[in-house]
């Protein structure tokens, strides 16, 4: 493919691209930069400080919310990745067309339905069946929502495995279980890791579903941040938000790097 060959080069395209990229990142950078602003009037720069981070760590409610978020994220990640892995492998086997098609549809539906609708639907459902597991309610809702995000890299990875590898394993006396343990699983590991990371981020960052579903006392970090934003933006919010942003960025970049490495 011609790289920026003369006929393909359109003027203004490069500028637009860089401006758009700046547009995408400036708000993120602003939050991070101003979290170090020694001025409680957030948007006027006064000097560098890490005070807000210290204040954030000393905040009990914040700490509790953070722990809740982490507990839910880790559990939801484990469950959703496991379910997604089984589904991905199952889809490669012989399934009746109806089952296969409805599974694919169900897998993409959470990404298509507006989050607010999923939020109120889940909340109503928990209400009517009287589910009252506290943080467990949040965990269930997150698990469901995270499955498609875990599934995508796993599915992408499994598609790259040539079927002849599994035929070779069977030809070499491996039972289906041995074939799975020694060939499928090791080769799928990058996809599984990537899927788990994405599921983790999705759970950690989720707001609207958690807001609707979490009972009082089971607050997560984004819900806490929202309540603070409602009251008025304080610099501690910037500090906490920056931490969340940086965690997400690190995980996404790692996920990319893992997938890029052609370990095969």
């Amino acid at each position: 493919m011609a790289a920026a060959a003369s006929p393909a080069k359109i003027p203004g395209v490069a500028t637009t691209a860089y401006l758009a990229l700046a547009f995408l990142y400036i708000p993120i950078l602003i939050v991070i930069i101003f979290s170090f602003n020694a001025n409680s009037l957030i948007t006027v720069w006064k000097g560098f400080t890490t005070d807000w981070y210290l204040k954030a760590f000393q905040n009990d409610d914040l700490r509790r919310a953070t722990i809740n978020s982490l507990v839910v994220a880790v559990s939801a990640t484990v469950l959703s990745t496991l379910i997604a892995l089984m589904a991905a492998i199952g889809m490669r086997g012989k399934v009746p067309r109806a089952v296969g098609q409805s599974s694919s549809f169900l897998m993409t539906l959470p990404l298509l339905i507006p989050e607010i609708v999923i939020a109120i639907a889940t909340m109503s459902f928990f209400f009517i069946i009287g589910l009252d597991l506290g943080l467990g309610n949040v965990l269930i809702a997150h698990t469901v929502f995270c499955i498609p995000f875990a599934y995508s890299p796993i599915r992408a990875r499994i598609e790259t495995l040539q079927p002849s590898l599994f035929e070779a394993a069977a030809d070499l006396y491996a039972t289906p279980w041995q074939s799975f343990r020694r060939v499928t699983l090791p080769l799928m590991l990058p996809g599984i890791t990537s899927g788990a990371m994405l599921a983790f981020i999705t759970s950690l960052d989720d707001f609207i579903i958690t807001q609707m579903v979490a009972p009082p006392g089971a607050m997560t970090l984004p819900v806490y941040i929202y309540s603070m934003v409602r009251k008025g933006i304080t610099p501690e919010i910037n500090a906490v938000s920056s931490i969340l942003l940086v965690i997400s960025i690190i995980l996404v970049v790692s996920s990319y790097v893992i997938n890029q490495r052609k370990a095969v």
């Binding site: 002849s164 030809d171 070499l172 006396y173 039972t175």
Partner: protein, 329 residues
């Protein structure tokens, strides 16, 4: 210990949008122990499907496959003492060469010391002694092929299956591997069943060949039998070049007669057929002469030594009686 294979009335039917397709149609043949047996045919003839059924990667729709008298057709692949060298090699990318080769023995829970010894010996057999710790991606195509071979051979299978294993190699390497495979078969005494669409390869390597067409076996025989006495027009046409003309064009009785280009020669004076040279195709070791017979048919004649003829010359042809090919359709 070598084994023979008896394929009895094996058929394989696949469903398809246009109706069921008989990939293998009631095939029966017997492969001797310690034999280099080749399944030869154009793509779609069923040779690979047949091979996969022997390996256990597909189940026959009907028929049985007897290995040392036992029907292995209902057994899954991992319970058959049969190993395959795949066309794409199918080496496990996350394992070293040694681990790849050791895989089969490991799955059978052989003792570690025995595995290490066998792996070393097999690496030496395929001359990759110092490549044990490499990963497949670090090897060349030819080396990967030898690893695939070693991975199968180390298990001392009763039958070794090779599915177009040489097709990804370049010409020179391919010729080398053909000799190598032949040597390995003779040394190990394992029955090799080889699938290819390359008739040169089949003729040069095989003890016996089964030529397949559209799911059926057209002919089974030694390379010589297949070449000199093709049973059907398809076999005659598929193996080497074969000229087919009306018998009358050569002054003979019968409907149709065939002959190989190298069996016909120019003669001075009265021959069996007359014609004019339309094209001379110099190929170095051999020269092809495209001759248009007076009957209007075009044939190819080949000679090793240069002939004193030119384009548009009138020529006479002669073919020894015993080299004529007469077959059914």
């Amino acid at each position: 210990m070598s084994s023979g294979l008896v394929i009895q009335s094996v058929s394989k039917t696949f469903p398809s949008p246009t109706g069921p397709v008989r990939a293998v149609d009631n095939v029966s043949l017997t492969i001797q122990s310690n034999e280099f047996f080749t399944l030869l045919g154009p793509s779609g003839c069923g040779k690979t499907t047949l091979l996969r059924m022997i390996a256990g990667l597909d189940i026959p729709t009907s028929g049985s496959i007897l290995l040392d008298g036992q029907d292995i057709a209902p057994l899954p692949a991992y319970r058959r003492p049969v190993n395959t060298v795949f066309q794409s090699y199918a080496l496990f990318p996350h394992m070293t060469v040694s681990d790849n080769i050791a895989f089969g023995m490991k799955m059978q829970n052989k003792p570690q010391a025995e595995i290490e010894k066998s792996v070393r010996e097999t690496l030496a057999l395929v001359r990759l002694e110092d490549k044990g710790e490499r990963k497949p991606a670090q090897l060349s195509g030819g080396q990967q092929q030898r690893v695939a071979l070693a991975r199968a051979l180390v298990n001392h299978p009763k039958i070794l299956l090779l599915d177009e294993s040489l097709s990804a190699l370049d010409y020179k390497l391919r010729k080398e591997m053909q000799i190598e495979l032949k040597r390995l078969q003779r040394e190990t005494g394992i029955t090799f069943i080889f699938v290819t669409h390359d008739q040169d390869e089949a003729l040069s390597m095989s003890d016996r060949i089964a030529v397949m067409e559209k799911g059926n076996v057209a002919q089974i025989g030694t390379p010589q039998e297949i070449y000199d006495d093709p049973a059907t027009r398809f076999v005659a046409d598929f193996i080497g070049i074969c000229n087919f003309v009306k018998a009358a064009s050569l002054g003979l009785d019968g409907g149709e007669v065939g002959f190989r280009p190298e069996d016909a020669s120019f003669t001075v004076g009265h021959g069996m057929g007359k014609g004019h040279i339309r094209h001379i195709n110099y190929r170095g070791a051999v020269t092809h002469y495209i001759v248009e017979l007076d009957s209007g048919e075009t044939i190819t004649l080949s000679e090793d030594d240069p002939q004193n003829v030119a384009v548009n010359d009138a020529v006479n042809l002669v073919i020894p009686q015993e080299r004529l090919i007469r077959c059914g359709t």
